[in-house]
């Protein structure tokens, strides 16, 4: 009983939810466990250790932000979870199963330009349901397009949409297969500040209707705090986890939250952590 109660959506759906079928995705999935993860790339100038002995656990349904200066291995970690690259050592499982390669258990939203330009918007979103043999991919696609407010643009080519709209299509496409895990690599990084702030609110609204585990990469402190249940601050040289910060801000969250005292407190704390890491990049020799 209590377990069922815990798995209720944490936010009330805003407005009439167009997704009546979200219950299709079974609860309690989307647990990520990584142990002793290391990743060394063979670059032209010699091996580059992007990550070293990293442990990570993400609870089912948790919203986790990976935060850190660029080059600290955020994308590398995300690509490991996605199965895009294989760790040099360590183990990685999702719901107990080792990650072998990109698969429908993990939806991915990239920073930009990942929509298939040769498919219309609706065909992009219908692609996953089609591949997985779900019934009526087009109507599923339509449902998810209206979820991100783009049903009017169903027949457009992706290139004719603004950057923000393209990212919304990318989110709809990733969600349309009901993945237990959603991985997002700086999905709003290429957007202007206004659009970005609105997209963050929209993402939380959408997330509240699913029980999806989210791993969200960003280098924006406010974005990480605003979105996440937990912020993992990463360190550089070599890449790894520096500190984790639980974000006990109430949900549902809206943009006004950014002015609150608690938010400010988190911002100050995380700012100091990141600053240390960023300075290390500038003064590599006085490492502490």
């Amino acid at each position: 009983m209590s377990i069922l109660a815990f798995r209720q959506p944490r936010e009330r759906a805003v407005g009439g939810s167009p997704v009546a079928a979200t219950e299709r995705r079974p609860d309690g999935q989307g647990r990520i466990e990584g142990r002793g993860l290391a990743m060394t790339f063979a670059a032209r100038s010699g091996p580059v250790t992007a990550l070293e002995s990293l442990d990570i656990d993400v609870r089912p349904g948790e919203f986790l932000a990976l935060l850190g200066p660029s080059g600290c291995g955020k994308s590398t970690l995300l690509n490991l979870i996605a199965g895009i690259i294989k760790p040099t050592s360590g183990t990685l499982t999702i719901d107990g199963a080792p990650v072998k390669g990109p698969n429908p258990g993990c939806g991915i939203v990239f920073q930009q330009h990942s929509l298939f330009p040769w498919m219309t918007v609706i065909e992009n979103v219908a692609f996953g349901p089609r591949m997985l043999g779900h019934g009526d991919p087009l109507s599923t696609a339509r449902t998810f397009l209206s979820l991100v407010g783009l049903d009017k643009h169903a027949r457009a080519w992706p290139a004719s949409l603004s950057g923000g709209m393209q990212q919304r299509v990318g989110i709809a496409r990733a969600l349309a297969t009901y993945p237990p895990v959603l991985l997002m690599d700086e999905p709003f990084g290429a957007l202007d500040a206004q659009t970005r702030s609105i997209m963050q609110e929209e993402l939380l609204k959408i997330w509240s209707q699913f029980h999806t585990t989210v791993v969200f990469v960003t280098h924006d402190i406010d974005e990480a705090i605003f979105l996440a249940d937990r912020v993992v601050v990463m360190k550089t040289q070599p890449g790894g986890i520096k500190r984790e910060v639980r974000i006990d801000l109430p949900r549902p969250r809206d943009a006004a939250l950014i002015k609150s005292e608690l938010f400010n407190h988190y911002r100050g704390e995380i700012f100091e952590l990141i600053r240390e890491e960023t300075l290390k990049v500038f003064r590599p020799d006085n490492g502490h």
Binding site: G107, F110, F127, M131
Partner: protein
């Protein structure tokens, strides 16, 4: 939506027509100054010749002969070059095996193949098909090969994370990624093939536009030679435009919304 030409369109056409008029004017002037119809007949005489050749039906049959050779050779080249190029792009062993051969064969111009084509195939259609196919093959091949390498990793990762298997990846991701380059290759290949047919017919055939201008040169019918040349130019342009329309409407519509 745009059925009526806009001001921009009218301006474009205006310049085009002015350009053609200028060309015809210079030609008439030069012919008048030269005053030698064997060296350079004036445009009016060429139009006269065109009418004659249309009336006796020989122009149509020459055009048909050349067209058949070009389209046939082009089709053969496309059917061979596109799959081979994609196979080479996607399979490392095949790529390593075949790329030296391609590198070595590519610089040989189609015209250098004509003697061997005659030895192998005699005179007429077969050597001409061989030459037109050869001329179209390399542009189609080279561009398709580059196209095969132009897939974005994000697209592959996204597709796999959405459940695409190897077949779907090829048909729905790799092929469309390569399509813009394939279309470019087809366009260049058709042009090369058209140029090659004239060359081939100058030497290795007894019909077609190349043969026709060669025969009329020997007869000192310069006007008819120019008719042949103009028809070659116009048909080449028409085919190129036709393929461009195909490209925009069918092959890569997303690049031309």
């Amino acid at each position: 939506m745009r059925f009526l030409p806009g001001p921009e369109q009218i301006q474009k056409w205006g310049w085009a027509i002015a350009g053609i008029a200028l060309f015809l004017g210079l030609w008439t002037f030069a012919a008048f100054r030269m005053a030698n119809a064997v060296l350079l007949p004036e445009p009016a005489a060429v139009v006269q010749g065109l009418v004659t050749l249309l009336e006796d039906g020989t122009l149509i049959s020459d055009v048909a002969a050349s067209m058949k050779r070009v389209l046939g050779g082009f089709a053969i080249a496309a059917v061979l070059a596109v799959p081979l190029a994609l196979l080479m792009a996607f399979s490392r062993p095949v790529g390593l095996l075949l790329s030296p051969i391609v590198t070595f064969l590519r610089p040989i111009p189609p015209i250098a193949w004509i003697p061997i084509a005659i030895l192998w195939f005699g005179i007429g259609d077969p050597p001409s098909y061989f030459i037109t196919a050869l001329a179209a093959f390399f542009p189609i091949f080279i561009n398709s090969y580059a196209g095969g390498h132009s897939v974005r990793p994000e697209h592959v990762h996204a597709a796999r994370s959405l459940g695409a298997g190897p077949r779907a990846l090829f048909v729905r991701i790799y092929l469309p990624s390569a399509m813009p380059m394939i279309a470019t290759g087809l366009r260049i290949g058709l042009g090369q093939s058209w140029m090659a047919v004239v060359t081939a017919e100058l030497i290795a055939a007894h019909s077609g536009l190349g043969y026709m201008i060669q025969a009329n040169r020997l007869a000192l019918e310069t006007g008819l030679v120019l008719v042949g040349m103009c028809v070659i130019g116009v048909l080449g342009a028409v085919m190129s435009i036709g393929l461009e329309v195909l490209e925009k409407r069918v092959l890569v519509p997303w690049k031309h919304p």
